[in-house]
Symmetry: C2
Subunit: 590 residues, 2 copies
């Protein structure tokens, strides 16, 4: 793991017994991902969600980013509970790494806890969580907090928003939501509960900002049923392959229902698809009889025209079912011009190129492809502008904090709240780590706590210097040339220098350049006299300078130069501190 540059090293400010409520976002503000929020009142902290974020292109070799929880670790005995609003990665994905550090009762609905369970058993099998299953509509006391769980519609079933009574006033957190008028599972967003809280009086509202840029209402998940139906009707004799998010069980349900209507069997492909569907069927969130679902090993027993393959890969993820099929590398399914493939999802920002390449490869397989540019194949799980307005109308909060969005989303959502009647100074655009301190009639932001991202490198790496990523970037751009020097105690070369390059012109094929580099190194050593053996820093600087000159004369870019120096008869150096910010260079204690 590595603390990224946004991590703030500032000492967390101590909380006080002052009768004030503190709202502290630790993730999810100014970004879409790693949502995590804390509410602190005197000796008690309530945590909401614990997500991860996928890395951007610059984070070489990083698998995901989780919130920096230094603030909570220092106060873990104060935590009265962690509430999970729904089962998406950006709300539960940090748990395997974070929960063991702040073990606390974990509250969530049945499906959400099931999804958390799958995650924990994979990534933190040794840890025993303290699950507390709740239902929408219930109220649970956690220390000074009385938490009411409110049903909300979203792109995964069983999501909740929260109304949290505190000694200072009620805090409402929408969770990720939309106001779907015709949800597939019939479970509506609970307008009545939000309105009721609004009537009683709400101190603070935190609301989902993802789709604040979209005018109007987000369409109902149900609107896809027409597209799905048409797909089945038009291709009665062809095998149908459908790709969608594995967590969007509403969409899977619609496909399963259509399959049953059109007498097709469903084959599930992709680990997360199989896992989520198994879980949802077991817990009663997905209804499919055993005859409809067929194991992939039995696919040969069903004629293609009687099959639907439901697979992962709608985002072009490298090892997903659909991508393997598009590459002709899936162990069971080979696509041909007899297949029709439908991608029931739009690319998440950043995935556009991967999705586009996948579609091109599917065309090259000869299949017919139904995708974004063709038909209505996706609806969002997040509320658009008018739904956000409705939420503000229902809850009518005194103070407002837009959450779950990039910076511009937060700014625009705050503006929208002001247009809807929130007093201009009462709508706060916060960033992770900002502390909003609330009294009954007053809210101020003046403190900050440590917050930011911890980069996780698959195998947990412990803390890693931030400069490592910078070095990876340089290696990626220019490659490296390593040189080994062997010096006598008098500072003369005991043997000719040896070079190795990687990610750079291969020196074996460039005799002239290697000769020039050898001369550069020899001259660098000579120029220092006896100092070559005693002043390592000077030697390395001189060698790098001379080698870089030789490379420049050759017009060969700027590979990272990596000198390895041995002075014969000398023990290897003990631990030396590395100049952490200077990427290429190194410093030694003088």
């Amino acid at each position: 793991m590595a603390r990224d540059s946004r991590s703030r090293k500032k000492k967390a400010s101590p909380s006080k017994k002052d009768g004030k409520l503190r709202y502290i976002p630790l993730g999810g503000l100014g970004e879409v991902g790693k949502n995590m929020y804390a509410l602190e009142y005197e000796d008690s902290i309530l945590v909401v969600d614990c997500g991860l974020m996928f890395p951007d292109d610059e984070m070489f070799g990083i698998d995901f980013v989780i919130p920096d929880i230094a603030y909570l670790e220092e106060r873990k005995e104060k935590i009265v509970g962690i509430v999970i609003t729904h089962g998406h990665e950006d709300h539960i994905g940090g748990l395997p790494f974070i929960l063991p550090k702040i073990p606390s009762p974990l509250y969530g609905t049945k499906l959400t806890l099931g999804m958390v369970g799958n995650k924990l058993s994979e990534w933190a099998p040794a840890f025993t969580p303290d699950y507390r299953e709740i239902r929408a509509g219930e109220r649970v006391e956690m220390g000074p907090f009385s938490v009411r769980f409110i049903a909300v519609c979203h792109s995964v079933p069983d999501g909740v928003g929260l109304a949290i009574e505190t000694p200072v006033g009620t805090v409402v957190h929408t969770g990720d939501f939309k106001l779907d008028p015709t949800p597939i599972d019939g479970r509506l967003t609970d307008y009545a509960a939000f309105s009721e809280e609004g009537k009683k009086g709400v101190l603070l509202l935190m609301s989902d900002s993802t789709n604040v840029e979209r005018p109007g209402f987000t369409q109902s998940e149900h609107t896809l049923s027409g597209t799905i139906d048409r797909l089945f009707r038009q291709h009665r004799s062809r095998r149908i392959v459908i790709s969608a998010f594995a967590s969007n069980l509403h969409r899977v349900q619609q496909v399963v229902d259509a399959a049953a209507r059109f007498n097709r069997k469903v084959v599930l492909v992709g680990r997360s698809m199989v896992k989520n569907v198994d879980l949802a069927r077991e817990l009663g969130y997905l209804h499919a009889d055993d005859k409809t679902i067929v194991d992939i090993e039995d696919i040969g027993k069903v004629p293609p025209g009687s099959l639907v393959v439901m697979t992962t890969g709608s985002q072009g993820e490298p090892f997903s079912g659909l991508v393997l099929m598009s590459r002709g590398e899936h162990r069971v399914i080979t696509l041909t011009e007899k297949d029709v493939v439908a991608i029931f999802a739009t690319p998440i920002p950043g995935n556009e190129k991967m999705v586009s390449s996948t579609i091109n490869r599917l065309f090259a397989c000869g299949c017919e492809v139904v995708y974004e540019k063709e038909q209505a194949i996706h609806v969002s799980g997040h509320a658009a502008q008018d739904e956000l307005r409705v939420m503000l109308n229902m809850v009518r909060p005194k103070f407002f904090v837009p959450v779950h969005g990039e910076y511009r989303h937060l700014v625009r959502h705050a503006k929208l709240a002001r247009e809807m009647g929130v007093a201009p100074k009462n709508a706060f655009v916060l960033l992770n780590g900002d502390v909003l301190t609330l009294e009954k009639d007053k809210a101020v932001v003046k403190d900050r706590v440590q917050a930011g991202g911890i980069m996780v490198d698959g195998i947990a790496l412990g803390e890693m210097q931030g400069s490592v990523l910078k070095e990876r970037r340089e290696l990626a751009e220019e490659g490296t040339v390593a040189v080994s020097l062997i010096l006598t105690g008098e500072g003369t070369l005991a043997s000719p220098p040896v070079f190795e390059s990687r990610g750079f012109l291969h020196l074996e094929d460039a005799a002239k350049l290697r000769e020039d580099l050898t001369v550069s190194v020899e001259k660098a050593v000579e120029s220092l006299g006896a100092k070559a053996a005693s002043d390592r820093e000077l030697l390395e600087t001189r060698i790098k300078g001379r080698m870089r000159d030789a490379l420049r004369r050759f017009g060969r870019g700027r590979p990272m130069i990596l000198p390895l120096v041995t002075v014969l008869g000398e023990k290897p150096l003990p631990e030396r501190p590395r100049a952490s910010s200077q990427g290429r260079g190194r410093r030694r204690k003088s």
Copy 2:
């Protein structure tokens, strides 16, 4: 430079004096970028366009990709001319690297040649091109080809399509086009010329496939005038910053015109913006009086409310004007809440995240931002489905080849042509390197020539092994650990091994791991006895294996291991061939 994996090493098939016409795409098919097409008839070759493509994320350190022109280099004496259809990078960007290798007369309109000139003087200043300026409407004879230049509307002025009479029949190439009914410069796509060719009879049509996924007609550039006008009207007292493509001189003209109407001065920011506007004004393609354009150094003399800043950076390019401003790093312009910034362009696929980050930073500067999600701020320069239908109706070709598009675009455009009456077997989806051999009534694809991409690494690198990119990828993902070993002639360690890591856990901070690695290396050397000094391949394999085991025990990922071996008293090894495909490993001649 490096030949990418798509380059085909197959020997180019020799052309024959058989009275047949060959159409050979060398770039631009199955991709958006590096457009280059050849028409060959017996002893003569006509080349159309010579573009570059920007690299994808996997091409570490690569600046751009140009077409592989091995086929043309072997036949350069046959080339009768290179015709450039318009001045965009994906049509002219390869010229500085390719034209010196196949020096030939270069045909283009005045503005196009001006843009080519800027490019050549920057990248190939020593080369003297043989420019042949043409005008739309003219006809020029080039060997057996008689080329008619036809005006087309596009997002850069002065573009042309081509009608090429050959002994076998007429070939029409649309170039990049749209059927803008109200172009800013009043220069319409020449329907009459295309229709006339259609009436006379067209053997083959190549048509722009970029927007084949979009239904209807692409909107006129003129539709932006409303948005621009509103922007100026709504913000009379604020400084306005506008970002757009530097080559879209129509859009720059609209901004300049609005500035004049609203009594504002225009300041140009960004090298390519300044260059293109200078050129276009000089050649008469952009009309702005000297009082309207103000030098950036004089910006302080104009009150903010009387200024428009016209800048590059609409794609979030790292060192562009708008991005520097958004980072607070521009040497002259500092953005505040008093500014309004409008981005008059949508992201090109792949640039979405860079654009999004730029917008977030602009919000953080406090400015008001007008962008994609807000208003109509962009229209495409390429024909949509109905325009493509109109083109097919006008030209009515016997044979059809969709060009300028990803694979799915080509497939869909071929389908559209069939729907419009092209005989199903006469619409060809080709890839770069495919040879379409045409007779009066017959067209077949059976030959292929070498084609693909040459990767250019900024400074021309000559040919570079493909494995270099693979190594860069590994370095980026995992970093590297280099180890220097000094052996006596008897194969014992003469000194303890020295380690250096980059892009990986810093070994100075991991004493235990460094100790383990030292032991691994010592054991590896011991296990080989005298062989350690004589069998370098075995030694390296053994060292890598043992070090990797130690790293695995530590749970520390798989950095690339780079051993540098010196045997005292031995000369350094002469050039050794490197196993080019095996990334990590190396082989020596046995």
